[in-house]
C-alpha cells in the first residue's frame, strides 16, 4: 500500500491560504496576496499531479480494477449509533481526475487573475475567496462520504455566492449572487432530503459502502413504495435535484447565466470548469445506485438531453459573449448528464459513464479557455456584447488563436479534445435511446453554429469604434490561455477507457466511425452556416431571426423561465405567503395577545368603577348584599 495521508494537504493548503489572506486582508500589497494564493494553488497542482501519478501508475490494482483508497479520515461528528460524519480523502479514478481538473484550471485562473484583476479594489478579497473556493471544491471531490460532500457542496455554493457578488456595489451582481445562492440552496434542500432518506434506509453515509458491490442501497428500501416509486428511487431523485441545481439543469438553471456578473476568471473557474460539473460528479459518484434505480437514471438522461437542446437554442440568440458561453456550458453539462443517464454499468456497457467523465475533463479545458479568452477580449474592449466587437483578430493574435482552438474543440472537430469525448457520448446514446441520440446530433450542429457565430462576430467582420485601440493582454493572462489551448488540443488522446470507467476496470475503446463521421459533418455544417452568416457583416441573420418570429423572441428571452420564477418568488411567495404571514403575526397572533391585554384593561377599568369613592354606592352594595344574604339564608337555603 502507498501512504496517501499527505493528500490532506491538498485540502489544508488552500484553507490556510484562505485564512491567512482573509485575516491579513488589505494589510499587504495586493500583489502579495495574489502571489500567496497562486503559490498555494501551484503547490496543490503539483500535489495533485503527483497523487494522480501514484494512483494510476504506482498503486497496484486489485483484480485489474483501480481500488478506492481512503487516504486519511477523521471522525467529525457522531450522529446516531450507526451514522457519523467523517472528513477524509477518498481516492478513486474520478476523484483523482477531478483533482487534476480543479487544480489545473484553478492554478491557471489564479495566474490569469493576477493580470485580469490588477488594480481592482478587492484584489486581496478576490484571491482569498478564490482559495476558499478551491478548498471547498477539492473537499467536495475527495469526500469519503455523502455528508462530507454535502458540507463542501454548501461551501462551494457560498464561495460562488461571494465571487458572483464580488462587485458588490453593482445591483445586478448582488441580485445575481442572491439568485445563484437561493436557487442552489433550494436544490440543496432536495439533496439534503435525499441524504436523509438514503442514510436512514441504508444506515451509512460512506461512499465505499454505498457504491460497493454489496451496497445496502440495493437491498434496503426497495419494498417501500411511495407514489409508485421505491424509497431508494425517491432518494436518488432528491439527490439528483441537488446535482441538477449545482449543474444548472433545467429547470434549476436560471442562476447560471446571471452568474456571469462575476469577474470573468470566476466564470471560467466556477461556472464553467469546476463547480457546475459537481452535479455530474455527484451522479457519477452515486452511479451504482443510480444504475440500480433505472427510473431515476432515465430521468437523469432526459433532463440532461433536454437541457442540452434547450440551452443550445438559447445560446444561438444571445449577444452577451459570456452568456453565450454560459448557455453553452449548460448545454455541454447536459451532454454529460445524458451520457451518465444512458450508461450501463461495467465494462463496455459503462461507455456512457466513461464518456461523461471524459467530456467533463476535456470540457473543463476548452470551456475554461473560452472563458479566459472571453475575459481577454472583454479586458481589451471593455464590453460584453458581441455586436460592439469585430475584427479583433488583428489586435489579439494569441487570444484569437487559442479561442479558435477552443471553438474547434467544443464543436467536435478532430483532432481536438472535444471530438473524442463527444463521440463517445453519441455512441453511448445511440446504443441506448435513438431519440436522445438524434437530439444530440442536432445539438452538436447547433453548438458548432453558435460557437462560430460568436467567433466570427468577435474576431472577423468590421472594426467597431473602440475607445482606444484594443491591445493584447499581459503575459500573466496569455500564458494560461496557451497552456489551456495545449490541453484542449491534446486532452483527447488520453486513454480514458483505461483510467476512468464505471467499475474501474479498463477496457478497450474504439471509435465508431459510422457515428463519428456524420457528427463531424453536422458540426462542419454548423460552422459553414455560421461562416456564411457572420464572417462578413450582413443582415441575413437578422432576416432569419425575423422569419422565425415568436420562437426567436422566446429563445432570446430564455423562454421566459426567469419571468416564471420571478412571478413565483416575488409575486406568490413574497406577496401571498410572506406578507400575509407577517400580517397574520402582527394582527392575529399578536392581536390576540394584545386583545387579552385589552380585555384585562377594560375589565379592570370596570372593576375600578366599583371603587368609586362614592360612600353611598358602597352602602347600597353593602345593604343589597345583606338583604340578599338574609334572603338566601332565611328563605332560600332552608334544607
Amino acid at each position: 500500500m502507498i501512504d496517501f495521508s499527505y493528500t490532506i494537504w491538498i485540502l489544508l493548503i488552500p484553507l490556510l491560504v484562505f485564512v491567512v489572506t482573509g485575516l491579513t486582508g488589505n494589510r499587504f500589497k495586493p500583489i502579495v496576496t495574489g502571489i500567496i494564493g497562486t503559490t498555494g494553488l501551484g503547490i496543490n497542482f503539483c500535489l495533485a499531479l503527483f497523487t494522480a501519478y501514484k494512483y494510476f501508475f504506482v498503486l497496484e490494482k486489485a483484480d485489474g480494477a483501480f481500488q478506492k483508497v481512503i487516504g486519511i479520515s477523521y471522525t467529525w461528528l457522531h450522529l446516531t449509533e450507526k451514522l457519523h460524519i467523517d472528513i477524509g480523502v477518498l481516492l478513486d479514478p474520478i476523484s483523482v481526475m477531478m483533482l487534476i481538473v480543479i487544480t489545473t484550471v484553478s492554478f491557471m485562473v489564479h495566474i490569469y487573475s493576477i493580470g485580469y484583476m490588477k488594480g481592482e479594489k478587492g484584489f486581496a478579497r478576490f484571491f482569498s475567496i478564490l482559495s476558499l473556493f478551491s478548498f471547498s471544491m477539492l473537499g467536495l471531490v475527495i469526500a469519503t462520504n455523502i455528508f462530507q460532500m454535502y458540507i463542501f457542496w454548501e461551501l462551494v455554493g457560498v464561495s460562488s455566492f461571494l465571487l458572483i457578488g464580488f462587485y458588490y456595489e453593482k445591483d445586478s451582481a448582488v441580485a445575481a449572487s442572491k439568485k445563484a445562492f437561493i436557487v442552489t440552496r433550494f436544490a440543496d434542500l432536495g439533496f439534503l432530503i435525499g441524504i436523509l432518506v438514503l442514510s436512514y434506509t441504508t444506515g451509512t453515509f460512506d461512499f465505499i459502502t454505498l457504491t460497493g458491490p454489496n451496497s445496502p442501497a440495493f437491498t434496503s428500501g426497495q419494498g417501500i413504495m411511495f407514489l409508485g416509486m421505491s424509497t431508494m428511487t425517491w432518494s436518488m431523485l432528491f439527490i439528483f435535484m441537488g446535482g441538477a441545481g449545482k449543474s444548472a439543469m433545467f429547470p434549476l438553471h436560471i442562476w447560471l447565466p446571471d452568474a456571469m456578473e462575476g469577474p470573468t476568471p470566476v466564470s471560467a473557474l466556477i461556472h464553467a470548469a469546476t463547480m457546475v460539473v459537481a452535479g455530474v460528479y455527484l451522479v457519477a459518484r452515486m452511479f451504482p445506485i443510480f444504475h440500480h434505480e433505472q427510473s431515476a437514471l432515465e430521468i437523469v438522461a432526459w433532463v440532461g438531453g433536454f437541457t442540452s437542446l434547450f440551452a443550445a437554442v438559447i445560446a444561438c440568440t444571445q449577444y452577451d459573449i459570456k452568456r453565450v458561453l454560459a448557455y453553452s456550458t449548460m448545454s455541454q453539462i447536459g451532454y454529460m448528464m445524458l451520457a451518465l443517464g444512458v450508461s450501463g454499468y461495467g465494462g463496455e456497457e459503462g461507455l456512457g459513464y466513461m464518456a461523461s467523465m471524459f467530456h467533463l475533463f476535456t470540457h473543463a479545458f476548452f470551456k475554461a479557455l473560452l472563458f479566459l479568452g472571453a475575459g481577454a477580449i472583454i479586458h481589451a474592449v471593455h464590453s460584453n456584447y458581441m455586436n460592439e466587437m469585430g475584427g479583433l483578430r488583428k489586435y489579439l493574435p494569441i487570444t484569437h488563436a487559442t479561442f479558435l482552438i477552443a471553438c474547434l474543440a467544443i464543436s467536435g472537430i478532430p483532432p481536438f479534445a472535444g471530438f473524442f469525448s463527444k463521440d463517445e457520448i453519441l455512441v453511448a446514446a445511440f446504443h441506448h435511446n435513438k431519440a436522445l441520440f438524434a437530439m444530440e446530433y442536432l445539438v452538436a450542429g447547433m453548438t458548432a453554429f453558435y460557437m462560430f457565430r460568436l467567433y466570427f462576430n468577435v474576431f472577423w467582420g468590421k472594426d467597431q469604434h473602440y475607445h482606444h485601440t484594443p491591445h493584447e493582454a499581459p503575459v500573466t493572462m496569455t500564458l494560461p490561455l496557451i497552456v489551456l489551448a495545449i490541453g484542449s488540443t491534446f486532452a483527447g488522446f488520453i486513454p480514458f477507457t483505461k483510467l476512468v470507467t464505471s467499475d474501474s476496470m479498463p477496457f478497450e475503446a474504439h471509435t465508431e466511425w459510422g457515428i463519428a463521421i456524420p457528427s463531424i459533418l453536422i458540426a462542419l455544417a454548423g460552422i459553414g452556416i455560421a461562416t456564411m452568416l457572420y464572417m462578413k457583416s450582413s443582415d441575413t441573420s437578422k432576416k432569419i431571426a425575423t422569419a422565425l418570429g415568436g420562437f426567436y423572441a422566446a429563445a432570446y428571452n430564455k423562454f421566459y423561465i426567469d419571468q416564471v420564477y420571478l412571478f413565483i418568488t416575488k409575486k406568490i411567495l413574497f406577496n401571498y405567503v410572506s406578507r400575509p404571514v407577517a400580517w397574520f403575526d402582527r394582527h392575529i397572533v399578536d392581536g390576540t395577545m394584545n386583545q387579552f391585554a385589552y380585555v384585562t384593561n377594560v375589565v379592570s377599568d370596570r372593576i375600578k368603577g366599583f371603587q368609586s369613592g362614592q360612600l353611598q354606592q358602597y352602602a347600597l352594595a353593602f345593604i343589597s348584599g345583606v338583604i340578599a344574604l338574609a334572603l338566601l339564608f332565611i328563605y332560600l337555603w332552608t334544607n
Binding site: L620, V626, I627, I634
Partner: protein, 169 residues
C-alpha cells in the same frame, strides 16, 4: 282599641311620617326639626312602656344634645335659605328598592315569628335599680361597659376637639 293601642299608633304615625320627612325634606334645618319630632315620639314610646328614665335620657341627650349639635353644625356649614338638591332619580330608585325590599323581608320574617310574650308589668323601673345595675359587677351588672363608655366619651370629646380645632398652618 285600647288606650295604649291608640297611643302607640299615634306615636308610630308621628315617627313614620316625620322620619320620611326627615329624609326627604329639602331644607336641612327643617329636616333637623323633623328629626327632633321623631326623637320626641320615640321618647313617648318609652314612656308608654314605662321606661321613664330612659325616656328622659332620650329627651335630654338626644333631642336636647345631639339635635342641637346637629343644628349648630348646620348653621356652621350652610346657609339657612339653601335648598338641598334633589338626588338623581336612579339613585332614589335604587335606594328605595333596597330599602323597601329590606323592609318587606324583615317585616315578613317578623310577622312569621311567634314570640313568647310575657304579661305586661306596669311598674316603672326604679332609678335605684338602674343605678345598681350600672355599677354592679355581677351578673346583669354593667360596670365594665359603663366605664368603657365613659372612656369612649372622653376620647370622643378629645378627638372632636382636636379634629375641629383650626390647624396652625
Amino acid at each position: 282599641m285600647t288606650n295604649n293601642q291608640f297611643m302607640f299608633l299615634l306615636f308610630s304615625a308621628v315617627i313614620v311620617i316625620f322620619s320620611l320627612l326627615t329624609v326627604t325634606s329639602r331644607r336641612i334645618l327643617r329636616a333637623a326639626t323633623f328629626l327632633l319630632f321623631v326623637l320626641f315620639s320615640t321618647s313617648g314610646l318609652y314612656f308608654l312602656l314605662r321606661f321613664n328614665f330612659l325616656a328622659a335620657i332620650q329627651l335630654t341627650l338626644y333631642a336636647g344634645g345631639i339635635v342641637v349639635l346637629i343644628i349648630f353644625s348646620i348653621l356652621l356649614t350652610s346657609q339657612i335659605n339653601d335648598k338641598l338638591s334633589i338626588p338623581p332619580l336612579t339613585k332614589r330608585i335604587y335606594a328605595a328598592i333596597a330599602a323597601v325590599a329590606g323592609a318587606i323581608l324583615c317585616i315578613l320574617t317578623i310577622l312569621q315569628t311567634e314570640f313568647v310574650q310575657k304579661t305586661f308589668d306596669p311598674a316603672r323601673v326604679h332609678i335605684r335599680t338602674i343605678g345598681e345595675g350600672m355599677l354592679s359587677t355581677g351578673k346583669y351588672g354593667y360596670a365594665l361597659p359603663f366605664e368603657v363608655i365613659s372612656v369612649l366619651l372622653l376620647a370622643a370629646m378629645i378627638g372632636s376637639i382636636i379634629l375641629a380645632k383650626k390647624r396652625k398652618d
